[in-house]
């Protein structure tokens, strides 16, 4: 890992790489291109990884997105502060240690993870990660499709399901959802729309709702062009 990091830093000037340690027994640690450098340097780093005769990571196996939402962390901090107190009739400044809970919001990001292997040498995986600045407006990442064609559909899928915009991608369209679909379903804060005919294990109120829906549909079929079909289902889904 360190060797690859050093090699990248030697070969691509200005590339910032940090090692992300994977605590699991799989031991698949990863290299993260630092956000500041990622836009300019990522493609150069990728080219280097592919073309370097030692590494020869010519085969990009897996590309995927990961969503890390904003996290509110409540932590207890020991704070030392000066308090004015009246001790034995005299006002004094006394230092006091208080434990207080502080909340801070760790900003979230979207992350693209690339698993690289070498067909020529048979080694791998080398895991490459790049993350966006935030989850809302700065979601651009450089596309690695010009370097590895196999990223083409997978980056499209990430664009579709996570909403990462890959600059430099030759044909960035939705892959699995239809054109005109608004949201990004794989994001963790995605809320399923309640507009489809929901039919989980039918009992009690769900059964009643399903029956009502069926009856309504039948009525709509008989009464020409009258019923508003979408209004039937309400309440919450059970799945998710």
């Amino acid at each position: 890992m360190e060797e690859i990091k050093a090699a990248i830093e030697a070969a691509v000037p200005g590339a910032g790489v940090e090692i992300v340690v994977n605590p699991s027994v799989s031991g698949q640690h990863s290299l993260r291109l630092r956000p500041g450098d990622s836009v300019s340097g990522a493609v150069a780093v990728a080219k280097f990884l592919r073309d370097d005769p030692e590494l020869a990571l010519d085969f990009l196996s897996n590309v995927t997105g990961v969503d890390w939402p904003d996290k509110e962390i409540a932590e207890k901090v020991k704070v030392t502060r000066t308090v004015t107190k009246t001790v034995e009739g005299v006002e004094q400044a006394v230092e006091e240690t208080v434990e207080e809970t502080r909340k801070r919001v760790e900003p979230g990001c979207l992350e693209a993870v690339y698993h690289l292997f070498s067909v020529a040498k048979g080694h791998g995986p080398v895991v490459l990660r790049i993350k966006t600045e935030n989850r809302t407006d700065q979601v651009e990442l450089p596309s690695l499709t010009p370097v590895w064609r196999s990223a083409e559909f997978q980056e499209r899928e990430i664009f579709d399901l996570y909403g990462i915009v890959f600059t430099g991608h030759p044909d960035l369209r939705r892959l699995l959802m239809w054109e005109g679909f608004k949201d990004h379903p794989m994001r963790r804060d995605y809320v399923e729309p309640d507009d489809f005919e929901y039919e989980p294990t039918a009992h009690d109120e769900v059964l009643k709702r399903a029956m009502a829906h069926q009856a309504k549909q039948k009525a709509a079929e008989t009464v020409a062009g009258a019923a508003d079909a979408g209004a039937g289902a309400e309440g919450t889904g059970v799945g998710a």
Partner: protein
């Protein structure tokens, strides 16, 4: 809904005349399911081809992220529904990498046996479908299904289901194979070379097959590697890369088998590679059935309920009959995976569909597409 209904017509490159735009699919008999190719044609020649996915999309990954690790196992059966056991295996392997569970030796052998049986029946039916799309409606496919049926009966006897096996578990296999099952398997495996011979006699030297497939849909090795093509497709392009050899998973290093490689990189090579791989699989099966050891099939420490891997991530991959099937898991220590990703070989092998089809005839598109060997359940997930 789709944009482009009112789009101006696509003109020929030389500017004289329009191209004909055809939507092949989603209900085209050659597309194995619901899949569409938007093709622009100059006469019979393909000028542009854009695959359109998502008709079978159900967001398998999102479902799995809301479910316990065990709960996703039956859903993996439904990815590539022709090869449920290799899907099980890939998922179990990824979780085992995440947790470091040991798999008992007998379970590893059982996995190899089931994996190779899966490969034989997948390749047989894949060839059957390819020939069916070429116009031989039925006959070769029925030959393939005859052999497949025997293998599926074995699956049912062991796992309880023909296609939705749900058999492997984290740290082993669900039930042990009885001696009777192993004997039955030996009998079926003994009959497989005869089937492959018959299948080969039926087709290999068929002039129509040769005329239709040789020199069609050429995929150059450099492009194949760069585009992440895996499995028989990659090997038919002459690249020696088999995860059973290089990935070092399971107990494949104990068996002697060869990796067949193509040298013309065309559809006929892909057909032949699958034929030859069936023969190699039979070799592995014979060896595995000969030296399968006794012992337990489940890791004694494996937990069924309350399974919570430590935080971390793992990417596990196997050589599935379609190509490299990988599972990428991130655990945050909870009962369900934080991130669950399937690397679908079928989808990624389609990346180069357009490159292979450009300049070919429409009728050849069907063959080239058939030679990729995809299952839409896996492409769309």
């Amino acid at each position: 809904m789709r944009e482009g209904w009112n789009r101006p017509p696509v003109m020929k490159p030389d500017g004289e005349g329009e191209l004909l735009e055809v939507a092949m699919g989603p209900h085209h008999p050659s597309t194995h399911g619901v899949f569409r190719m938007d093709v622009a044609l100059d006469g019979e020649r393909v000028i542009r081809l854009k695959p359109v996915f998502g008709y079978l999309h159900r967001n398998h990954e999102k479902i799995a992220e809301g479910m316990s690790y065990l709960g996703s196992m039956p859903f993996t059966d439904r990815l590539d529904y022709l090869c449920p056991l290799t899907n099980n295996w890939a998922y179990a392997l990824a979780v085992e990498k995440l947790t470091g569970q040991e798999v008992p030796e007998r379970a590893e052998y059982l996995r190899v046996i089931l994996g190779e049986l899966t490969r034989v029946q997948n390749h047989a039916s894949s060839i059957g479908f390819l020939i069916q799309e070429m116009g031989a409606s039925g006959t070769p496919l029925m030959y393939a299904f005859k052999a497949r049926e025997k293998i599926l009966d074995l699956f049912e006897e062991l796992t309880g289901a023909r296609m939705m096996c749900n058999y492997m578990r984290f740290g082993g296999c669900r039930v042990d194979a009885s001696a009777a099952w192993l004997d039955a398997t030996r009998k079926v495996v003994a009959g497989l070379p005869g089937f492959v011979d018959e299948f080969e006699r039926l087709l290999r030297t068929n002039e129509i097959l040769m005329a239709r497939t040789q020199g069609v849909g050429i995929l150059r090795p450099e492009l194949a590697v760069n585009a992440g093509v895996t499995g028989p497709m990659l090997r038919a392009s002459g690249v020696n890369y088999d995860i059973r050899k290089v990935g070092g998973y399971g107990v494949y290093n104990r068996f002697k088998f060869r990796v067949p490689l193509g040298d013309h990189w065309d559809v006929y090579d892909r057909y032949m590679i699958r034929m030859l791989e069936m023969r190699e699989s039979i070799k592995i099966l014979e060896q595995a059935l000969k030296d399968i050891p006794g012992g337990p099939v489940m890791d004694a420490k494996a937990k069924l309920r309350g399974f919570r891997p430590k935080p971390g991530e793992a990417y596990g991959r196997i050589e599935s009959p379609k190509g490299e099937l990988g599972f990428y898991l991130i655990s945050d220590g909870g009962p369900n995976p934080y991130r669950y990703r399937v690397r679908p070989p079928s989808l990624i092998n389609l990346t180069i569909l357009e490159d292979m089809c450009l300049g070919q005839n429409v009728a050849d598109v069907v063959l080239i597409f058939g030679s990729v060997d995809i299952i839409l359940g896996e492409v769309d997930r």
